[in-house]
Amino acid sequence: MAASRYAADPPDAMRRVELEGLTLLYHRTSGLTHFLAPPAPEILDALAAGPASAAEVAASIGERFEIESEDPAAAIAARLAELEAAGLVWRT
């Protein structure tokens, strides 16, 4: 089975304000406000380029950051599931 690919709204569908290391995000499509902790904003940044699988998201983040995690794949999958439940990403 092919891995799920995830998509996110384009950056102009969101208003982001940084407050003390957290990202306050207003999602125009839903009218909802979310508080995001790292790495959720970085995942949205990675998806701004277009749909990607969890592994591709991890790779893209790895290019910009030094990743600190026991199990990066599981952690990214868990973060994507949270973003999906909030409606910020969806499976294509």
Binding site: R15, V17, L19, E20, L22, L24, Y26, R28, G31, L32, T33, F35
Partner: protein, 286 residues
């Protein structure tokens, strides 16, 4: 409706209709000196019998109006004034969309406003009423209205509702400013206090907010001050607002600007003298 009363409080006007004379007579006394609505009212409140016969037989007042909550329970006619107050609060909580509505008290000095917010029992009403008699201008004890365009606070100086232990504050107060003692209400004994003439005369003057306080009251608490981060303040204020979500992006922008521009602090106090001292300490730096 048989008895009608119009009332303007800050930038908001109400039309209150009642099937009984009592509640409207009490409102007229309590709000003597308040301006009348100019032209159109933002909200309509109706005080009416739940069932036709309940107008005469053990009369009870159902709180109705433009916006209603299905679970609201009626009050005995003797508490009609409280029903009117709750009716106005309900319209604000459910229907106010012109301002970001914060469940908070506010007072002003030298054109700068202090916002006090926290859940029931934190002492906002008592503190605002007290400060309003001691050189501050009382702006409101229940709702603060944040302007979505310019970020200023609009006054909403309704009568202060004091409960139970706080009633001591009314000792020595001009009896002409007091409402009737309402006993046995769902919140205990309640008595209303009309804000002083300055607060009423200046109800049209908005003020720039400079400090947010989250007071916490408790016997045995040591007086203390704690910094509240902007993110926490944002979160807490969304939960203190009934219309934050409904205002959409404008609410988001207004609130993000608000918490970004102002210091927020939590204060603990065990009596009003301690709270006053803490506020006096914090105010000059704000």
């Amino acid at each position: 409706m048989n008895h009608v009363f119009g009332l303007k409080v800050g930038p908001v006007s109400f039309r209150i209709g009642s099937q009984w004379r009592g509640p409207v007579a009490a409102l007229r006394r309590l709000y003597a000196g308040y301006p009348e609505p100019d032209g159109v009212c933002d909200f309509t409140v109706r005080l009416e019998a739940e069932r036709i016969w309940r107008r005469w037989l053990r009369p009870s007042v159902a709180i109705r109006g433009d916006y209603v909550l299905p679970d609201a329970a009626p009050l005995p006619l003797a508490q009609g004034l409280l029903a009117a107050e709750m009716g106005m609060n309900l319209q604000m909580a459910l229907g106010q969309k012109r301002f970001l509505l914060l469940h908070a008290a506010s007072v002003e000095r030298d054109g700068r406003a202090l916002l006090l917010t926290g859940h029931s029992g934190a002492g906002k009403s008592t503190l605002a009423a007290l400060l309003g008699e001691r050189g501050w201008r009382f702006m409101g004890d229940e709702f603060a209205l944040l302007d979505l365009e310019d970020g200023r606070l609009h006054p909403f100086p309704r009568a202060v509702s004091l409960k139970n232990e706080s009633l001591g504050l009314l000792n020595g107060m001009d009896p002409g400013r007091l409402g009737p003692v309402l006993e046995g209400t769902p919140k205990g004994t309640i008595r209303h206090l009309r804000p002083n003439p300055e607060a009423v005369a200046r109800m049209g003057e908005a003020a720039r907010p400079v400090l947010i306080l989250f007071p916490r009251f408790g016997r045995g608490l040591e007086p203390a001050v704690r910094e509240v981060g902007a993110a926490e303040a944002f979160m807490r204020l969304t939960q203190a607002s009934t219309n934050y979500v409904a205002l959409g992006e404008r609410g988001f922008d207004a609130l993000a600007r608000f918490v970004g521009a102002l210091p927020s602090k939590a204060i603990d106090y065990a009596d009003t003298a301690q709270a006053e001292a803490l506020i006096d300490d914090l105010w000059p730096a704000a």
